[in-house]
């Protein structure tokens, strides 16, 4: 039986300073975090002890790329009361949501991250000299061949052979962009093509190999980083690096909900047909560069299919998979929206302008172009592309669409506001977040899988959290509220 799909999203935001002689992204990112986070949380260290980003899921401990990783040791990194991590990584501010048990909670926490970054912009602005401004974009490319990531993480069983993940997940990941793409004007990188006016994915221009450990160069469709942040005997954490950062709540919901479902099927060895694409790296790009969604790609078995065809096959498997299970409300909604979306993509992709990022942006840019009589290639269109991802509610084009009732949302603004300070209740993020909010002054360090307390005893007290579904409100909620101090908390946990 598949393990519960505990999941999270980590987003690197694009950052730029205006009105300065030289933009220093690390300085600007640190300023944002430092001006937003309260001193009591800032003194709690991120514990790197358990981090092994170079461990490879294929077994070998690879040394390649050493110079590109782990360079953030000295940079700002804080843990928030909602259980999230907020830090500087690769010259970008990065936000990792707390662990969520389902796609809907993840949408809420992904949006809470946006609000936290937007709040940081507002607080940092107060300390900036007049004329100086920091801007943030939740996208994945600067349009000049530089990309930054939005990675998803899914808890998986250690028992699932990695080769099954590669063969059965790759076709799904390559084709899901028809609903997860954030849209992009033009193309870039080594395969740049002037003929490409618009494409579905922000990231497709940047992937070069099928499987690998790297994330910043020679990017692979399937990343092999083996860093479970949980019991390594039982679990792996699948690190999905090819997705776009989404503004649309529905795109994020579908992206994580469908992927979690496909991963469960892979764990349960349920998919018995061979869906492998011959040449998945080039297919990823071909599909991205066709907004009609009609391009066909060659499968290993000789068939040629569209991305939507292949998605139907995964959906049909999913429906069979769920047929004899008790299906929870979120999963049922994932399947329902998945089916509606594929139907609409097949007849008229533009009919999804209220739901999907790439369609909403495409429609907006086309309308703008038509009204103003602009050619493709006009910088104004690239500017609208960028401005779509501005996370300020009063400035971002995505938020203009929401505000004018032209974009559907999935969760309420109140739920998002709550998640800025409240962790999910049903994962270990609850323990991490509540421990921080109550006992920050007695915590020296924390990480995804441990909280280290200084209770005044001779030794520091480490509370390991190797099970992502333990430490929930149901099990420790009362204790988190009633403990007198950290010593009392640690003592009662161990009792």
């Amino acid at each position: 039986m598949a393990v519960p799909k505990v999941m999270g999203i980590e987003t690197e935001y694009g950052i730029i300073s205006r009105g300065v002689e030289e933009h220093n992204p690390i300085f600007a990112s640190s300023l944002l975090i430092n001006s937003y986070v309260s001193p009591r949380l800032k003194r709690v260290r991120w514990d790197y002890e358990e981090e092994t980003p170079l461990r490879d899921a294929r077994g070998a401990f690879q040394r390649a790329g050493l110079d590109f990783l782990d360079d953030d040791g000295g940079l700002v990194s804080v843990i928030l009361e909602n259980g999230a991590r907020y830090y500087v990584d690769h010259a970008h501010p990065e936000y990792s949501t707390p662990e969520c048990s389902n796609a809907r909670d993840l949408v809420i926490h992904d949006k809470a991250g946006e609000r936290i970054l937007a709040g940081s912009l507002a607080t940092a602005a107060r300390s900036l000299p007049s004329g100086v401004q920091i801007l943030l974009y939740k996208n994945n490319s600067d349009g000049k061949g530089n990309s930054y990531g939005c990675h998803e993480n899914y808890l998986m069983s250690r028992a699932t052979p990695f080769s099954n993940i590669v063969s059965q997940l790759t076709p799904f990941l390559v084709t899901r962009q028809v609903y997860t793409g954030a849209g992009k004007v033009g193309s870039e990188g080594s395969g740049a093509d002037k003929q490409v006016q618009y494409q579905l994915s922000q990231r497709a221009d940047f992937f070069e190999v099928e499987v690998g450990l790297e994330t910043t160069f020679k990017r692979p469709l399937i990343n092999t980083r083996d860093e479970p942040h949980a019991d390594p005997e039982k679990y792996r954490r699948l690190h999905v690096i090819l997705g776009d950062a989404n503004m649309s709540e529905i795109s994020t919901f579908l992206k994580t909900g469908t992927t979690a479902l496909v991963l469960s099927m892979i764990e349960d060895n349920f998919i018995t047909s061979d869906l492998r694409i011959a040449g998945p790296v080039s297919a990823f790009q071909t599909i991205s560069r066709d907004p009609t969604c009609k391009s066909r790609v060659l499968l290993s078995d000789g068939r040629t299919v569209t991305a939507v065809d292949l998605q139907w096959e995964y959906l049909d498997w999913a429906k069979k998979y769920l047929a004899d299970q008790d299906v929870d409300g979120v999963t049922a909604e994932v399947v329902g929206r998945w089916e509606e979306t594929l139907g609409a993509l097949e007849t008229d992709p533009m009919s999804l302008a209220r739901q999907l990022d790439w369609v909403a942006k495409y429609r907006m840019i086309e309308a703008y172009q038509e009204r103003k009589g602009l050619e493709w290639g006009d910088p104004k269109l690239s500017l609208i592309d960028l401005q779509y991802h501005d996370i300020r509610i009063d400035r971002g084009v995505y938020y203009k669409l929401v505000e004018s009732g032209q974009m559907d949302t999935l969760v309420s603004e109140q739920e998002i506001a709550d998640a800025v300070s409240e962790p999910p209740h049903d994962t270990r993020a609850y323990f991490r977040g509540k421990a921080l909010s109550r006992f920050a002054s007695q915590i020296t360090a924390a990480s995804w899988d441990a909280v280290i307390f200084d209770t005044g005893a001779d030794a520091l007290q480490k509370v390991p959290m190797m099970e992502p579904l333990k430490g929930t409100k149901a099990t420790v909620g009362r204790l988190m509220e009633s403990a007198r101090d950290a010593a009392d908390l640690v003592e009662q946990i161990r009792a």
Partner: protein
């Protein structure tokens, strides 16, 4: 009935509903788009070319 046929049937019904009042819907959409374009012009940087050129990021993950 195969899955494929079911999907087709659903789609055909969908287009009939949409076709009910095309003129009215089009005008409303067009007004909405005009309003939105005005709002977008308000949030766009004045010098698009300069701004787009200056937006350069260090690569990340």
């Amino acid at each position: 009935m195969s899955e494929e046929q079911k999907r087709r049937r659903k789609t055909e019904q969908g287009s009939e509903t949409e076709a009910e009042a095309p003129v009215k819907t089009e005008r409303r959409n067009s007004d909405q788009v005009d309003k939105l374009i005005t709002e977008i012009d308000e949030v766009l940087e004045e010098n698009a070319e300069e701004f787009v050129r200056s937006y350069v990021q260090k690569g990340g993950q």
